[in-house]
Symmetry: C2
Subunit: 418 residues, 2 copies
């Protein structure tokens, strides 16, 4: 058995199942007698030499991670630039890895993390330091290249579809004398994957969501309002799903239209849903309500997709296997071999095919009129939200999420000045 240490780090926005990946990383490494350190707050912890000693976690704690949302070791929003621009940071990183005999580096994140892992592998090679770098996929944005889908997305998608279906039943029951138009704001600055998932909540012209607004299509307010009005006249109410990233023809975000300052000079925080609801109220006079689930949609472990959980566990296991086998600068990816019945397996892809690429939603996933999803989108999305994977609950009615005490290993280097 190879000696040395494996360093695992979480990066970017956390998900309902990123800790599930962490759980299998630690378990797979323990099975191979490899010690795992986890960077505190992602790459920042690696730079600061704040490294969690996972050997201090009990087997129950490691298992418990698999049903706990959030990021147990902390994540961060820090993007390293090119090797030239951020050379000092990359060299510091390498110094920390070397000081702790890290031979395998697993970086669990999206595009940026794949890029960082790739660059670290290049620098190690340049310095002749034996290091195997493996990216591990994660993002509710579902925008990683090569992989068929991204762990974290399926659970957020299931939350979205289920929540939309529930609030639509509420609105339908009350519309005669109360709210007639309801707007649900979905995450998705660049791509409408989660908004599309809301489309799974219903099928057919009269089923909610009646209108979906995708960032892939230009937002035309007059056309939107006319459609809302038509749906209210036909159905009695209208449920709208809006991606946070929709823009008008001049390229400006609709979310910014509602912002600015109020009459006291206080910051007025915007939002697509509140803005659209206000426009519907002004232009059509209907009673409106809206929701902004925000972080609730990406942390809802209580309604995680079983498919998603299984894939999050699988990529963690595969990443450890790759790393210990010396497969450098790669990422385990999900390959789909069949829609129905859904079949998938894990394959290994080179990081340079993933780093800094962005997977767009296929054009044929959006209906010709621009306000709904197609059968092709349903075929792709349905298996990703399939299956329930409930966390265990205590007698007090709350999930038994764990917050393990994190013990850092002793520092060996001078403090980081960066």
């Amino acid at each position: 058995m190879a000696t040395g240490t494996l360093l695992y780090a979480q990066s970017g926005g956390v998900t309902a199942v990123i800790n599930a990946t962490a759980s299998t990383v630690v378990q797979a490494a323990r099975a191979r007698k490899v010690r795992v350190l986890a960077a505190r707050n992602g790459i920042l912890g690696a730079l600061r030499e704040e490294l969690v000693d996972t050997t201090r976690l009990s087997a129950a704690e490691v298992r418990g991670l698999a049903h706990t949302p959030g990021g147990a070791f902390g994540s961060c929003r820090v993007k390293l630039k090119s090797l030239q621009e951020d050379r000092a940071k990359y060299e510091r990183l390498l110094a920390v890895l070397r000081a702790h005999d890290v031979r395998w580096f697993l970086y669990n994140g999206g595009n940026d993390s794949a890029d960082t892992a790739l660059k670290v592998s290049q620098l190690a090679k340049e310095y002749g330091y034996p290091l195997t770098c493996v990216g591990v996929p994660k993002t509710v944005d579902n925008d990683l290249a090569v992989t068929d889908c991204c762990p974290g997305f399926g659970s957020a998608a299931k939350y979205t579809a289920v929540s939309l279906r529930e609030c639509a039943l509420d609105v339908a029951a009350m519309a005669e004398t109360s709210t007639k138009v309801f707007v649900y704001e979905a995450m998705g600055r660049h791509a409408g994957w989660l908004a599309a998932a809301a489309g799974l909540a219903g099928e057919g012209a009269n089923a909610a969501p009646h209108l979906i607004l995708f960032p892939e299509r230009t937002f035309d307010e007059a056309d939107f309002l006319a459609r809302v009005d038509a749906v209210v006249k036909r159905v009695g109410h209208c449920v709208v799903v809006a991606s946070e990233g929709i823009r008008t023809a001049d390229g400006s975000f609709v979310a910014d239209a509602g912002g600015g300052t109020d009459s006291f000079g206080h910051t007025q925080l915007g939002g697509v849903a509140s803005h659209l609801a206000g426009r519907v109220k002004d232009a059509l006079g209907h009673k409106v309500h809206w929701t902004l689930p925000d972080y609730l949609q990406r942390s809802a472990r209580h309604i995680a997709s079983k498919t998603d959980l299984e894939q999050a566990l699988a990529v963690g296991r595969a990443a450890v296997e790759c790393a210990l086998a010396g497969q450098n600068a790669v990422m385990p990816v999900i390959v789909r071999s069949s829609d129905a019945p859904y079949r998938w397996h894990v394959d290994i892809a080179p990081l340079d095919r993933i780093a800094n690429h962005e997977k767009k939603m296929p054009a044929n996933f959006i209906r010709k009129d621009g306000y709904g999803i197609t059968a092709a989108a349903r075929r792709y999305l349905s298996p990703l939200v399939a299956g329930e994977a409930y966390p265990p609950y205590g007698k007090n009615g709350l999930p038994l999420y764990i917050e393990p005490k994190l013990t850092l290993v002793r520092k060996k280097l001078p403090a980081w000045a960066g």
Copy 2:
């Protein structure tokens, strides 16, 4: 067996479990060979003579109601005034009941519905029409008098506590480089029951939610901001729960402060969470996020409380039994005999003790500093969110909620002119 028809109607904001009550009402009446009509859109359907023939629902559909959120027969926000002011409406109601041989009227709602049921019973007595009126409790606001709690509240409370715990784990993982202050807006215009339920998500000074803002306490912005800052300094981040109904010392709603019109003259819809987030950003400079779950919190059947579901089923059954036994102008209520282990049973209370009364949250449920809940609140709230009662799911990953086709019985009266 008495002959005649039982009329059931849903009123006010719907909940995750009001259809469960409807389900047992229909089942209990069927078991006694009593025909059930259901008013379409609450009292409005009774006035319009839009009456759903529940004998057309299959046994599977009736069972399916027990796991379907929303209001299957439609609800409404219509409050009848006094017998003097709205005499014509009450008389029309009585005419409809008489035309369809309705001998038992079950009205499933909150304070207003209890009042309407009481008045209808008084009018029937005045006209010598043999009618038994029974109120059936329902409201996420938990503000009905006499009953220990209200069906619908426990599930919304569970949704709130679980969601808060999840998003708090998300915020904690990212706070070092991202969002430091997160604001969760809970329903509750007059009482902070749901905000209090969020308090179940954690216990201790450093556990989220770190600050809860109750409508029972005057909102002091300077004090609030100072506390947020102190929590961020101590914990690294701060999760705030705000009741939609909080007000400043002059009595104005904080939610209205963010509203008004933007620079285009468009309506700017307010909200407590977005306003508070903006104030935190301006005054303290922290990165903020906020969530407005809105209808999601009262329709989240996927995370219903088992206690709540059982109580919703029980009051429906008890209401039919009361009615058929001729107990007029009453409501089945929940009586708690023990906190731990939790023990409860259904009792019968006169409607005049419930109509137009409002149960406040006990003063000893709010911590002395005004920003958290006490042990007494935990003892009361915990059993109400206990137990899971998942709906069945399809292979497509979505709950098997039902939307039965509603068939109206033939009208016997001239159209209502009201």
